[in-house]
Amino acid sequence: MPEPLLSTSQLCAWYGDFQALFDLDLMINEGEIVAIIGANGAGKTTLMHSIAGLSINKPHQVIYRGRQIGALRADQVAFEGIALVPEGRQLFASLTVEENLVIGAQTGRKGDWQLPTVYQLFPILQERRTTPATELSGGQQQMVAIGRALMANPDLILLDEISLGLAPVIIKTIYAALPGIVEGGMSAMIVEQDISKALAVSSRFYCLQEGRVALEGQSQTVQRDAISRAYFGVQK
């Protein structure tokens, strides 16, 4: 069995004084799309932050390409080739659309994703390239946030609630772009409220409940009622 691209082992994390994750073990292989599902407060965003280095853990709790990266800061993790599209987009308000994209390439990692390719993926951004990023519509801002992460040419992209608060038609556009993003071999971890959407695009999934993995499996073959049980913690 090949070594996974990234794995967590016994990952515990705190959100303020709350313990948000309890001894979490999960992994993602190279070229794989993994969905993380779970109710509000299940610890999905904390997991993303722990991997991306926004919250610091013990070194061995996050392993990436055989290296212990759990204690690295976010900027160091970025250089390793992990990019996060944060919940709520979080664009830089005093930067234009194009500057937001360019700053994504700050690490200087080489790859296919550069301004022209991002503009090809989301043509509207080229039209609005000189606009202050936070003046765009929500959907366009989400495109900038994804483009910004792609500009880092990451090996692993973490997408946190990318459809939250967006109109269905926009969500469709963004999800339509996803296969094109990963076809170059990039791995993706997707946090998504919409379970059917998450299962449709992923090959495997983890369902979190109160900071623990309640269910994991193949996205295409899982029984829906098994998910409901894991999701809501219904006991039989």
Binding site: G53, Q76, L84, P86, F92, A93, S94, I103, Q106
Partner: protein, 287 residues
């Protein structure tokens, strides 16, 4: 005529005040830090200039070549070594730590150079002047003003057209997300402080060739810089230049009325702006 003269002198003086303010404004913009030791660092730069001219026999303006990088290095070390540890939600640590630094620098200068007033001599430049009809403008004040415009112009350009400026704005907007881009905020803050103290180096030398200085005058320089920033409006570099000019003009006009009123008139101009336009004349961001 004397009023026009006072006005012109005030405008040129404003250039120096804008230089006092620019470094203060820069670090506030990038990391919301108000450096109470800023004025004492200006005075420190003046003394470094003095020592350079004495030891190396350099012309004071050439001494900038030594003083600017020295101050920049000091800024980076200060930020990485001490000030980064004070940044956070709590207002007190940065304020009190820079206040402590202010007292330390002031007394270290007293220890090293005594309380005697010093001045750097720039030779013929000192008295050189240009005649404009019946008005005469000193070359040195004109040069100071030109440098101030150049420094603020370059800062503005750096902020909006370079990768460094982009990093400054990104870190200022959201430190966490900027880290996700691979920017180490501690390093970025270090660079910002280095730049701030580099400008302080220029300001200190220009102060030292213009007037007498002694270790105790830092507080007043901090206040002038601060007043220029607030009059001009937070986060607006050209506004800071305008603020410096308004402060300078208020002081020279006040001095023209009564020599004892020079500083008072400047402070009153500041308080009036604060009363009428609390966010400054040309605000760009909220404090």
């Amino acid at each position: 005529m004397i009023w026009i003269n006072a006005l012109l002198q005030g405008i040129l003086l404003g250039g120096l005040y804008a230089l006092f303010a620019a470094g203060l404004s820069l670090i506030f913009g990038v990391m919301r830090l108000v450096n109470i030791a800023h004025g004492d660092l200006i005075v420190l730069a003046a003394y470094l200039g003095l020592s350079t001219t004495i030891v190396l026999g350099l012309h004071p303006l050439l001494a900038m070549i030594i003083v600017i990088p020295l101050m920049a290095l000091l800024g980076y070390i200060l930020q990485r070594g001490i000030l980064n540890q004070t940044l956070g939600d709590d207002l007190l640590p940065p304020l009190l730590v820079t206040f402590g630094l202010s007292v330390i620098i002031q007394n270290a200068l007293l220890e090293g150079y005594s309380a005697d007033p010093q001045k750097m001599n720039v030779g013929a430049l000192e008295t050189a002047s240009l005649s404009l009809g019946s008005l005469s403008l000193g070359v040195l004040p004109l040069l100071t003003f030109a440098i101030a415009v150049a420094v603020i112009g370059s800062l503005h350009w750096m902020f909006y057209h370079t990768a460094l400026g982009r990093a400054f704005r990104a870190v200022s907007d959201n430190q966490d997300i900027a880290q996700l881009m691979g920017l180490n905020k501690r390093h970025v803050f270090g660079i910002a402080m280095a730049l701030s103290l580099a400008i302080t180096g220029i300001a200190g030398i220009l102060l030292g060739v213009r007037t007498n200085f002694d270790p105790s005058i830092g507080g007043a320089r901090l206040i002038f810089g601060f007043e220029a920033v607030i009059i001009g409006g937070l986060g607006n570099l050209w506004g800071t230049l305008a603020g410096g000019v308004i402060l300078g003009v208020a002081q020279t006009i006040g001095a023209q009325i009564n020599p004892g009123w020079q500083l008072l008139a400047g402070h009153l101009a500041f308080l009036i702006v604060l009363a009428v336009r609390p966010r400054g004349l040309f605000p760009r961001m909220t404090g």
